[in-house]
């Protein structure tokens, strides 16, 4: 069932490719603006790199949350999903996975290129990419709760940022922490373990909270 949802959402995303590309280009543009703002000094850029890339990833993932449920809500598909006998939590998991595949994965693939812009060394680049790979699914899962709660509200886009961004903070801290630890030559496995733990916890709790929020929003 989850895979059915994922397949359907991916198909829909492929039919409207510009949506996917907009998020990706937003990410690239935000990351490219920082050197223009703070100057091209490589040593400064190197220390900022992980933070800038991660914050841009947070924003890009958050901005695309609105699309997670809104089109299904508009054409009534969501209502049918709520009425269907299949577990809503499973459906929501599928939604979060496809959101990650559509917005998270392109960011992960793009990150090494942007890291090079910031003069990151090979190891740090690898760690940055891996940390994004582990962290971006958490963003989609947590964001799903916010997207479900703000479904159909006026000013939903701004509201979702206030709700969701504070909850993203742990992911940001450990994602950037891993990169910093690796460029300082320290052990970064612990950061990955915690990111993995955050991922597992959000896989367990988020679909359930999202399903509850959807029922509240649709009632």
């Amino acid at each position: 069932m989850i895979w059915w949802i994922v397949k359907r959402d991916l198909l829909l995303a492929m039919r409207r490719r510009s949506d996917v590309l907009t998020t990706l280009f937003f990410f690239i543009i935000v990351v490219s603006l920082f050197p223009l703002g703070v100057g091209p000094e490589p040593s400064i850029l190197r220390t900022m790199a992980s933070g800038v890339v991660w914050v841009a990833a947070l924003l890009a993932s958050m901005l695309s949350l609105g699309r997670m449920f809104s089109s299904d809500y508009a054409d009534g598909t969501l209502e049918q999903m709520l009425l269907s006998p299949v577990s809503l939590a499973a459906l929501v998991t599928g939604k979060a996975i496809s959101h990650w595949l559509v917005t998270g994965v392109p960011l992960v693939l793009m990150a090494p290129v942007l890291g090079i812009q910031y003069d990151l060394a090979g190891d740090a680049l690898l760690v940055l990419t891996l940390s994004l790979l582990l962290g971006t699914p958490v963003l989609s899962l947590i964001g799903a709760i916010g997207a479900a709660l703000t479904l159909g509200l006026r000013g939903g886009g701004v509201l979702v940022s206030i709700l969701v961004l504070p909850l993203y903070i742990p992911v940001l801290i450990f994602g950037t922490g891993a990169v910093e630890a690796s460029s300082a030559g320290m052990e970064f496995g612990a950061h990955f373990s915690i990111l993995g733990a955050l991922l597992l916890v959000s896989i367990v709790f988020s679909p359930w909270a999202t399903a509850a929020s959807l029922r509240i929003s649709m009632s």
């Binding site: 709760i145 709660l149 703000t150 509200l153 006026r154 000013g155 939903g156 509201l159 206030i162 709700l163 961004l165 504070p166 909850l167 903070i169 742990p170 801290i173 450990f174 922490g177 910093e180 630890a181 915690i194 955050l198 709790f205 909270a209 509850a212 929020s213 509240i216 929003s217 009632s219």
Partner: protein, 247 residues
């Protein structure tokens, strides 16, 4: 005799119960405030390191404690409202949020005023300061979500979900911020007090905390009463109240 445990779960009877309790809590809050401020300004000795400026702890520490405590209380009542569908619990939760946010803001503001003379800076990215700031954001999120939803039932439930998600996240955020801070090892100042506090300082602080607590109860009761009136304005008992039939 059977006790009706749910008598005061009805907004109408709670309205009058809160009205009867208000004078007592107001009196307690004012008395404790006066005693606490008196101890804070006249009895507590001058700190040999920090001089007179340390006296802001009599506001700062109670505000910080209350802001954290109130978030848990808010999430608790919001959760009760979500689980048992009791309207009053959700109303209390929405009544708590502004007071909690006010205390979080007060803690940050007085902290900045304290930090400037002591550390020479308004703000450091210390773990406690950062988590207090994030707590403030969580309050703001709860309030803006409720404000954006017109239907009070949906607002209550949506607010409850975000409050509960927040309460699960608060420890995670707190520890990650702490770890982040030790990693960055930026702040050279720590908030750790000198090992022993004078008794007068401690008692002044505790009395001020009680005063802040009573103040919160008073304000939350008043706000709950107003929310009850607003939401129940179409019911018979409110129109009777308006015409002066009920007292």
């Amino acid at each position: 005799m059977t006790i009706n445990w749910f008598k005061y779960a009805s907004p109408a009877s709670f309205y009058f119960l809160a009205g009867r309790m208000l004078p007592y809590f107001t009196a307690l809050a004012i008395t404790l405030l006066i005693v606490g401020l008196y101890i804070g300004f006249f009895v507590a000795p001058t700190d040999f390191q920090q001089g007179e400026a340390y006296r802001i702890i009599f506001i700062h520490v109670p505000a910080a404690w209350m802001s954290m405590f109130l978030y848990v209380v808010m999430a608790f009542w919001a959760g009760v409202g979500l689980a048992f569908n009791t309207r009053l619990s959700s109303m209390v939760a929405s009544a708590i949020a502004p007071t909690g946010a006010m205390f979080a803001f007060l803690a940050l503001w007085t902290g900045a005023w304290w930090g400037k003379p002591m550390w020479g800076t308004w703000w450091v990215w210390d773990a406690r300061l950062t988590s207090e700031l994030i707590l403030f954001f969580l309050y703001i999120g709860f309030m803006s979500l409720q404000a954006a939803i017109d239907d009070p039932k949906r607002a209550d439930k949506a607010g409850a979900v975000i409050a509960l998600v927040g309460v699960v996240n608060v420890p995670i955020i707190y520890f990650s911020v702490q770890w982040w801070n030790t990693l960055h090892q930026g702040a050279s100042v720590s908030l750790v007090q000198s090992p022993k506090m004078a008794t007068a300082m401690l008692s002044g602080m505790l009395i001020m905390t009680l005063a802040a607590w009573m103040y919160s109860i008073v304000i939350i009761l008043i706000r709950t009463r107003l929310i009850i009136l607003e939401r129940e304005r179409h019911t018979a008992w409110v129109s009777e109240l308006k015409e002066g039939v009920l007292e």
